[in-house]
Structure formats: C-alpha cells, structure tokens
Symmetry: C2
Subunit: 190 residues, 2 copies
Amino acid sequence: MSRKYFTKATDIAKRIVEERVKEGDIVIDATIGNGYDTVFLAKLVGKTGKVYGFDIQSKAIENTKAKLIESTLTERVILIKDSHENIDRYVKEKIDLVIFNLGYLPGGDHEITTKPNSTIKALKKSLDILKENGIIVLVIYHGHEMGKIEKNIIEQYVRELNQKKYTVIKFEFINQINNPPLIIAIEKNL
Amino acid sequence: MSRKYFTKATDIAKRIVEERVKEGDIVIDATIGNGYDTVFLAKLVGKTGKVYGFDIQSKAIENTKAKLIESTLTERVILIKDSHENIDRYVKEKIDLVIFNLGYLPGGDHEITTKPNSTIKALKKSLDILKENGIIVLVIYHGHEMGKIEKNIIEQYVRELNQKKYTVIKFEFINQINNPPLIIAIEKNL
C-alpha cells in the first residue's frame, strides 16, 4: 500500500468520471469554470464522442476555449454561454454523464455563484435526458454561505428521488474541519 | 455504460478491499460471520499473506472453517473465537486492512449483535496497529435498534479523528427507505 487511496473529494468525482465515461459518450460539463474537467471529459469521449459545456461567465468560456485549442480538442466540444438551467434548449439527445462543479469560478468573482434554484432546474432536466445507467456527479462546495443553502436544497431533493428509478450515493469526508466539498452521485437505474 | 455502477453498500466495501489488499498483506476480518469476507480476503492476500478472523459465536467459527477447508485456504487464516475488542492479545504485528461487518450474524440469533462499546475498543486498537496507508472499513447496519446507537457512536468517534493522521470518508445511499448499511472507511495518512 504505497500511495494514498482516499485523496480528496474532487479526486473521487474524477475517479467516477474516469471509470464511467468511454469513447463515443455524450456528456455535459454543466459548469465549465476554468475548463479542466471539460478537457478531461473531451479526452475521455474520444473523437467519436461529444461534450456540451455550460457557463454563464465569459471568462470561463474564454479560459476553456483556450485550453481546448491548446489540446486540439475543440471539435468534440460545444461551449454554451448560458445557464445550465437551459440545458434542454441546447441538448436534444440522451446523455451518458453530467458533472456539476458548484460554487464560484476559482480565481473569479466569488459573489457570482451557482444558485440553488437554477441548480435544481438543471438537475431535473439532466435527469430527464440521462440514459439508463447514466450518471450525474455533483461536487458541492458548502464552505461559503450560498453553498450551505445549495447543499441542503440539493440533498433534500435527491433524497426524495424514487429508489427504483435512481441510486443516490453521497461521499463525504467527515473528519475535516474546512468543509471539504461533498460528492453526490446519481445513477439512473435500468 | 452497460452494467450498474453504484450497486449496493456491501459492494462498495468489497471494491475498496479488492483495490487495496494485495499478495502478502496481513489483514483482519473483525467479524467473520458466515465467512464470505474471510475467504475473499484469504484469496487476496495469497500464499504469503495472513488473515486474522474474529468472532464470538461458535457457529460463525464453524461456518467459516468449513468454507476455508472447502477452498483449501486454511493455512493462511487464523480463526479466533473471542471478541474483536481483544485484537491486541492475538495480533502482534502491523496490519494493512481491517474490515468490520457490524450487527448480527445473518441466519443467526438477531439478539446477539456487536455492541458500541466493544466496537469502539476494537476500532481504537485497530487504528493503533494499522500501517501507514492502511485502511479500516466499517459496514454499519443501522436498521435494528442497537445498530442505530452503534452508528451514532461510531460516527461521533471517527469525526474527531485528527485529519492530519487519518482520512475518514462516509459512503451513504441516501434515497433508500430501508436503512441500507452505510460504509465508513478510515485511511491512516503517511
């Protein structure tokens, strides 16, 4: 046992994504931020796959576009400067995976955060277009004020999801004092 | 995405064990029950590894012994008919992994359950003899009365573990009505 197994919450999210997304998949990055996950997803879906990336901030779109050009991955990614609550306006096909990195843009304006209302709307629409065995991963930062509210509203919502239709699992680091992000993953059952 | 990814709590525990235990490891099955995990562990540690198995019930020891004989794995397993709270009397070496399947013996007397007090004692002693990067996995059944109490006491205890020394993660299926077991995993940091 040489290397650490339980690293951090974001690595758990990344591991789930890595184990599930395969060549040809169609996936959504609901909050592209600085584009790290978008690039990661674009590599995983390969030439035959597709990534839809959403963000309301121009800075996020620009940063992500730059990273995609650098990695010559632009062809398989559709960047959309709109709220993820409007996913259904842009995505007209069934989806294998959706990832939400909630909160604010790292290095951006911390006052501009995802909001519980639009997050729940986006989550509902994501569930509608999710394929069977498809997965939604939520990385929830609840250290800031709006994040706490968002965390509670999301948890309340997903706890009510019909267990025959969905499996909802929560991953939480419970002995850390600095409110590490928690992960909620939802799988649509067969 | 053909097969289900998030199956059930016990599969998550099994996946952690499978990903961590390797040939030559020394591990503890703190609650052998009917011996399924003991056999699983004995296979993973290989000819050069060792499994210590604890249970207070003769029936558990007998059932496990029978399974081990059948799989010709007896040589690498030491079965001990005593409470896991006395781990330190029998185990005098550093350990790679400990698994606790709490609650009662499936198919046995449901009145005979693990008790919070001895579970915490066993957990403390396990932490003491755990190698760096070693892992403790607790499968906590909290559907029965004593299980609820046990769950709360364990959670309270592990939340207080120093985050520099240990990483504690909780895996919970949060949309199921029948109190599915929850998993707590503890890794000893480097």
